[in-house]
């Protein structure tokens, strides 16, 4: 029983890491974007375009690597477009984001019609030598694919850049006090363009993870709402990459757990179990924000506000 239980828990945890990865990429991207003061709620659309582009390019070139790069470029272009509307035209950022979601959903569905069911090369499992042999930790964290391993590096890297480097200081300054930043000689608009483009590129990569590593092919609306979950997780994470990792793992863990409880033959309503990931996100979100009521807010001060340079 104990061996069975530990095997079950290891399987749940390994599933958690896999399920969390696409959401984690989008969440990390959005943290970068929002730290610069731009709100991009169009992650769902960007992930979809990334997922489609990844499949299309992989199918054409037979190279998963090129597919992943193309997905990032597609995300980057959508991010630039979002930034153009939000910065140059000073459009309402929530409105633009929702429009981007609708646009990305429609565009990927339309272009993707010919790619449904196409057999493509997919991102294979690559067990890390030595590390994957460690009991418990190995099968949970080191028996996946390179995009999963990349997040282990990306999370501390992004945290380090944001908190400990000049680049991060610039990013934060632009997101908190754009006018002061401008007075200090920082190009606010350029910083925001770059941050939004980079963030969207990561969201595109998260989408490509869904189609190239997970579902192994394109199908319409493959994200099934994960882009919106990422937007929510940024709040939960209070713009901190490490907390984003925890949030994404909670979400992925809930998915993994509920599917395996069902597979184990547990008699619980699948609708109740299906709600688990979302209930968990809402619950943790409310607890984490309530606890910090008196603490200083971690919301970037200029988030979502158009930047009007002083004349």
């Amino acid at each position: 029983m104990n061996i069975e239980l530990s095997e079950f828990l290891i399987a749940v945890a390994a599933g958690m890491v896999r399920s969390a990865t696409p959401v984690l990429y989008a969440t990390l991207g959005e943290i970068i974007t929002e730290r610069s003061g731009i709100l991009n709620v169009g992650l769902e659309g960007i992930m979809l375009v990334g997922a489609f582009t990844g499949v299309a390019i992989t199918y054409q070139t037979h190279s998963v690597g090129l597919g992943l790069v193309a997905a990032m470029i597609a995300g980057l272009l959508l991010g630039l477009f979002h930034a153009l509307l939000a910065i140059y035209f000073q459009a309402n950022q929530v409105g633009v984001g929702i429009a981007m979601t609708i646009f990305g959903t429609g565009l990927s569905a339309y272009l993707g019609m010919d790619y449904v069911g196409k057999q493509i090369n997919t991102l294979g499992t690559f067990k890390l030598p030595l590390l994957s042999d460690i009991p418990v930790i190995g099968p949970i964290f080191f028996s996946h694919d390179i995009l999963v391993y990349a997040t282990f590096i990306l999370v501390p890297l992004i945290a380090f850049i944001i908190n400990r480097t000049r680049l991060g200081l610039t990013l934060r300054a632009v997101g908190e006090e754009p006018r002061s930043a401008a007075a200090a000689g920082i190009n606010v608009e350029l910083t925001r363009y770059i941050a939004t483009a980079c963030g969207a590129a990561l969201a595109g990569l998260g989408g490509a993870y869904l189609s190239l590593a997970y579902a192994q092919g394109w199908s319409e609306n493959i994200t099934a709402g994960r882009g919106w979950i990422a937007v929510g997780l940024v709040l939960f994470a209070s713009w901190n990459p490490f907390r984003a990792l925890i949030g994404a793992y909670l979400f992925g863990g809930a998915i993994s757990l509920q599917l395996r409880l069902q597979a184990a033959g547990l008699d619980v309503s699948p609708y109740l179990l299906g709600m688990l990931p979302y209930v968990l996100v809402i619950l943790v979100l409310s607890i984490s924000t309530a606890r910090r009521k008196n603490a200083p807010s971690s919301v970037p001060t200029a988030l979502g506000l158009p930047y009007i340079p002083q004349v």
Partner: protein, 363 residues
Amino acid sequence: MIIRILLYLWLVLLMQNPVKASNELSGQPLKVGFLMGGPVTDFGWNQSHNDGRIYLEKHMAGKVKTTFAESVPESSEAGRVMERMIAQGAKVIFATSYGYLDSMLKVAARHPDVVFMQINRYSEQKRANIGVYFPYYFEPLYSAGIVAARVTKTHKLGFIVGHVVPNVLAGVNAFTLGARSVNPGVKVNLVCTNSWNDPATEAEATKALVESGADVITSILDSSLTVCNAAAKLSTYCIGAAYDLNKQVPKTWLTGQSWNYGPLYVRVVEQVINGSWKPVTQYYTAKEGYAQLASFGSTVPQAVRGEAALAFKKITTSKVAVFAGPIKDSSGKLRIPAGKTADNHCIEQMNWVVSGVEGALTK
């Protein structure tokens, strides 16, 4: 001035209507519109309807012209799509997704001259121009269950469904009854993803079932493609519903259920043309040939193919019923007594699973 403009507009309208009518009289083809809930390239439910549409147009070339709209949401948008099709001359509308009925009831009231066909949904409100068609698909899954039970080594079969609704549970039950008819020790583990289309969750569910020891994975979703691909990656057999995926996963495909909607659509449209169409609720069993047993994968032994095909033949020739009593549900309660078979009403209300199914709804 305004009156003159209105008069002019009225004249234009007047002139347009007779043109349409005379077109019909002069033997113009009947226009038939199809609403699909998802992409017609999904290797599943929607594609099989689209294949049926193409068959209809080919089979009745010159007499029928078809048009379709895919990924139509089950909201008031469906009503707008129907209106657009009717404005373009459609005289028959097929709604191939459950949730279109509400919009249809409104649109049908405005267009008494158009025939509406709703799939898989009993309508309390009757309209003189709305018909309902229930093509049953569970019978081929009984035979698929036989194949699964013959092939499995772990005696554990996985089953992934989008939602636990009666129509789906009938399929799960038929599959389980088929499997246990040749191997009473077989267990079926049911996993529900709460969505007809969520590929990432479907892939993870496949992995979860394989980890729990299942060595054949069956699914009832918009499309079985993701599950079959995920199973293939884990070198695990798969059984599909709605579409034959033998070409997509040749090494691991066993069999499944596939649709042959073409003749059904020809049948209905011919009824409309010759005036014998009636606004009734129509059930079609496997006997009619619309739900078929899909092709067998190359790894299925000859003897098993014969056994499964024979079982299906017995069903289609009415020698055997899938839901023939005594049938107990998973809690041991007798649902269909000995000597009785499930009628359409019982199948429509099937909110229980037979013994042998483990997971949701088993108590």
